[in-house]
Amino acid sequence: MNPFRYERASDAESAVALLGQEPGGVFLAGGTNLVDHLRLGVRQPELLIEISHLPYDRIEPLPDGGVRIGALVRNSDLAADRTIRTSYPLLAQALLAGASGQLRNLATTGGNLLQRTRCVYFQDITRPCNKRIPGSGCPAREGYHRELAILGASEACITTHPSDMAVALVALDAVVRVLGPQGERTIPLVDFYRLPGEEPQRDTVLQHGELITAVDLPPLAFATRSHYRKVRDRASYSFALVSVAAALDVADGVVRDVRIALGGVAPRPWRATKAEAVLRGAPATEEVFGRAAEAELAEAQPLPGNAFKVPLARNTLVRTLLDLTGEGV
C-alpha cells in the first residue's frame, strides 16, 4: 500500500477547497470500496480527506412532498427509515439487497453512488484495464465477462455499475446535490453517470473537487406500489446479474404510469425509457410486459459469456411487473 496524507475536513467548504488544491486527493466517507482499492493498489491517492463527520446525515421531508437524503446517511439507516419503507419501498429493498449488514452500517449514500465497478480486470492490477489505466486495453471482451454489460458498453469498456441503491434512485428520478468550488449545483441522477465511450476512467460527470451533499427524491405517489427484484448467483451478499427497480400505476387494467430501471446490465443504472413508453396507456398484461421488455433489450449487444442476461433481464422485468399488478403487493 502506498503512503498517503490524511486530513479531516472541518466543514464542507474546506473539504472542497482542500480537494481542489490536490489533484491526487479523494474524499473518504464510509470507505467500504475505497479502502479495498487502497489495499489492492487499484487507487493510489496522495491525500485522503475525511468527510464522514460532516453534517449531512439527515433524512428530511421536502416542501414538495419529496425527501432529501443527506449524502452521509448510512445505507442501513436509509433502509430502516419509516418514510422510505412506506413511500419508496423499492429503495429500501434495493438497499437491503446490497452488500451485508456490516457494510451497510458503514456505507454512505454519496459513497454508494460513487462506488466503482467490480469487473475482475479493474480490480486486478496485474491486468490491463482502460478504466483503471486509460489506453492500457480491455481483456474482458475476449476474456471473462459473465457479469458484464449487454447495454451501453463501448469498445474500450464493458463494465457494469455495481450499485443496487442507484438503480432504485434512477427509477425514482432522484437528483444529486453537489457542492463545488463554484458553489452548489444539482444533477439529475439519470445524467450523473456517463457511458464509458472513449473515456471509461470517468464514471460520472462530477468534476474533481465536487462533493455530493444530498440526494433529493421527488414525490411519486404510486411508488408505494414498487419493487426491487435482484437476481444473483447466491441468495445473499452477491452483486446483481440482473436487477429491476419498478413502480407501477395501474387503473382499470391499463398502465397509467410506470418507472423502470435495470441493474447489472450496463455501465450505469439503466433507465428503461423504451419499456416505459410501450407500457404507458397499454393494457397491464403479461403479453404487453413482454413486448415492453423486448423493446428495451432490442439493442442489447451480448457477448458469448453474458448472452444469458438478455432473456434473464426480459423475464425478471416481466415477473416484477406481474407481481406489481397482483393483489396485495
Binding site: A80, R85, T86, G101
Partner: protein, 72 residues
C-alpha cells in the same frame, strides 16, 4: 442483529417492509447473519443457536412481568 429485529428493521427477505415486529425465523436469521466476517455465520448449528438466544432474550421480560403480577 437482535436489536435491529426488535426495532422492526426489515431485511432483504422480509415480506412486509412496514411491519413493526420481525419474527426471527431461520430465513431471517440466515439473511441477517449473511456477510458476517466469520464465514460460518449461518452454518447448521448456528441458526438454531441464534434462535435460542433470541428467545431467551425475551424470556427475562416475561419472567419480570409474571414476577410483578405476583407481588402484592
Amino acid at each position: 442483529m437482535l436489536r435491529e429485529a426488535e426495532a422492526g428493521w426489515p431485511s432483504a427477505v422480509s415480506a412486509d417492509l412496514t411491519a413493526s415486529h420481525v419474527t426471527l425465523d431461520d430465513e431471517e436469521i440466515r439473511e441477517r447473519m449473511s456477510g458476517n466476517l466469520c464465514r460460518c455465520a449461518a452454518y447448521a448449528n448456528i441458526v438454531p443457536a441464534i434462535r435460542q438466544v433470541a428467545q431467551q432474550a425475551q424470556e427475562p421480560l416475561r419472567t419480570q412481568q409474571v414476577g410483578k403480577e405476583a407481588q402484592p
